[in-house]
């Protein structure tokens, strides 16, 4: 270790870290603090923001209709996360345990759907599930149903949509964690007479639990905010917290109330990230 690593001269530090610091200060720290300030502001009769301290926005958050939507939003996020985890774990396990040559292709095929805009893909689901969509037609043709079933415009459809857009965010951290597993450990466990289930709970799961945690965080938190999924598939019957915020910044035009709603999302995020770190989660595995 040479000494001059620690004697950081100011110029190179400023030149390298200066731009990013300014950027983060101006476009992350200040805007978020400003949202916090705004959540305590009032509005005048023209819906302009007035810098006058009030707790009214937070009191309005306790509105019964809003409380219902928080619960609904958390349930939707929970089921979407569970859906991704239950389907994604075995999937990530299988694709990370194939031959090297095939692995890259299988991995890329999880990412390729990303390059078609998520809005259009969600709309594709709507076409597929619609009252006269392909699924209903197929089921009718097979005489499984007599009249079309409405699959859309309910919470289930929104859960499916959220799980669909966020599925790769569950699979990729799981894949990374499972890939690090040592194959010989599984063999040893089996040779010692452990059944599949025992091997899974005692050997596999403990070593991949970090992937489970980061996958769950990366699915749960965004599902609270993806308002367009709830719009397109839920049709207004399954709003999430994101819809409430969006409305205040578009048609409702009550920015301070929207800011207070955003503070809830920030608080939930911080809480979950803290919990994640408490469970031994590594921040770096949230990134990529």
């Amino acid at each position: 270790m040479s000494k001059h690593k620690f004697r950081a001269s100011t110029l190179p530090v400023l030149a390298t870290v200066g731009p990013v610091s300014l950027w983060l200060a101006f476009f992350v720290a200040i805007p978020l603090l400003y949202v916090l300030v705004m959540s305590f502001c009032s509005i005048d009769e023209n819906y302009n923001v007035v810098f006058q301290f009030t707790l009214a926005n937070y009191r309005n958050l306790l509105d019964v209709n809003y409380l219902q939507i928080y619960v609904q939003s958390i349930l939707i996020a929970f089921f979407a996360t569970a859906f991704c985890l239950v389907l994604g774990y075995p999937f990530a396990f299988l694709i990370s345990r194939t031959f090297q040559s095939r692995k890259t292709i299988l991995y890329m095929m999880v990412i390729i759907p990303f390059w078609t805009n998520s809005l259009i893909r969600i709309y594709g689901w709507r076409t597929f599930l619609g009252a006269s969509g392909w699924l209903n037609r197929a089921l009718t043709a097979l005489h499984l149903i007599d009249s079309p079933v409405e699959f859309l415009f309910n919470r289930g459809a929104t859960v499916l949509g959220m799980a669909y857009v966020l599925f790769p965010f569950m699979v990729l951290p799981l894949y990374t964690a499972i890939e690090k597993l040592d194959q010989s450990q599984l063999e040893v466990s089996a040779d010692l007479g452990a059944r599949g289930g025992a091997t899974f709970f005692n050997v596999v799961l403990p070593q991949t639990v970090s992937g489970v945690f980061s996958g769950c965080i990366m699915v749960f938190i965004p599902s609270l905010g993806y308002f367009y999924v709830a719009d397109i598939l839920g049709g207004g019957n399954s709003d999430v917290i994101g819809n409430l915020i969006e409305r205040q910044f578009q048609s409702g035009n009550n920015w301070p109330l929207g800011a207070a709603l955003s503070i809830i999302l920030i608080a939930v995020t911080l809480l979950l990230v803290k919990l994640y770190q408490k469970c031994g989660g590594d921040m770096q595995s949230l990134g990529v």
């Binding site: 040479s2 390298t16 978020l32 390059w115 805009n117 006269s132 397109i232 915020i245 999302l265």
Partner: protein, 268 residues
């Protein structure tokens, strides 16, 4: 013997399972591609009315849609370049130097990654509205660079993990300047990380709906154009454009992954 048989059975079940998951992932894309050739305009394209290329022809005449797509490409290119430059030098600086406030920067970097996009969107909207930054391409670039920077930094940082600084010291001991050392020694080592970060930034920017939705003003990007049209049902030429984008990106990956480009170059 029996064990072998059950092993084969298990393997086949695994393959079927993976196939079902891929079907789930690609199903809406199949819907889009099929409908881009479907000769019906009644939405949302319930039945197959014959094969047509009409929508691809009509796409070329839809100036507003093509415009929005050009905006998306321009926005993604500019945001990728800016975030890659800022992110790369930041990652190098954070790796090499110790300074006050480093942990603050580290913490701030994770905010755009974990926070719901809508919060970043409205936070930037309120800032832009207050300090009077005109909403349009400029505000979109500022917003996109903000959520791209962390991903570039994480990618470059992963590459720096096993980086041996002594080669830089050797270079400087030989009398090469700091900047020249950076361009000739540091940068080539980091290239894969920088490339990966840039690719990720480009992908994020192109697909972004929510942050753009709050910061765009009158400028329409392709996803926003789609959002606008969704109320009346996505128009068939949007399906055509999506199909073209998909084919193009898949080709690009196949070419780069298969090493075809490298082989062609060697031939020449």
């Amino acid at each position: 013997m029996r064990r072998k048989k059950s092993e084969r059975l298990r393997r086949r079940a695994g393959a079927v399972y993976c196939g079902l998951i891929y079907a789930f992932l690609f199903l809406p894309i199949v819907v889009i591609v099929v409908n881009s050739f479907n000769a019906t305009e009644s939405k949302p394209y319930l039945s197959w009315k014959g094969f047509t290329f009409d929508w691809y022809g009509r796409l070329l005449q839809n100036a507003a849609l093509l415009d929005s797509f050009r905006n998306t490409l321009l926005l993604a290119a500019v945001s990728t370049i800016l975030s890659t430059i800022i992110g790369t030098i930041a990652a190098v600086g954070m790796f090499k130097y110790r300074f006050r406030g480093k942990s603050v920067i580290d913490a701030l970097l994770y905010i755009p990654v974990v926070i719901p996009e809508i919060v970043l969107g409205i936070a930037l909207l309120t800032l832009f509205a207050t300090v009077n930054i005109p909403r349009g391409m400029l505000s979109l670039v500022l917003a996109h660079v903000t959520f791209c920077i962390p991903f570039v930094i994480f990618n470059v940082r992963a590459r720096l993990d096993g980086y041996d600084q002594s080669i830089e010291e050797a270079s400087m001991d030989l009398g090469v300047g700091r900047l020249k050392t950076f361009f000739h020694i540091t940068l080539p080592v980091l290239a894969p990380g920088i490339g990966g970060g840039a690719l990720l930034a480009f992908t994020l920017s192109i697909d972004d709906v929510i942050v753009s939705y709050f910061t765009n003003g009158q400028t329409k990007t392709f996803p926003l154009k789609v959002m606008e049209s969704i109320k009346s049902g996505v128009a068939p030429d949007v399906n055509a454009l999506s199909t073209l984008i998909l084919v193009f990106t898949v080709l690009l990956v196949v070419l780069t992954q298969s090493g075809l480009i490298r082989r062609l170059r060697r031939k020449r």
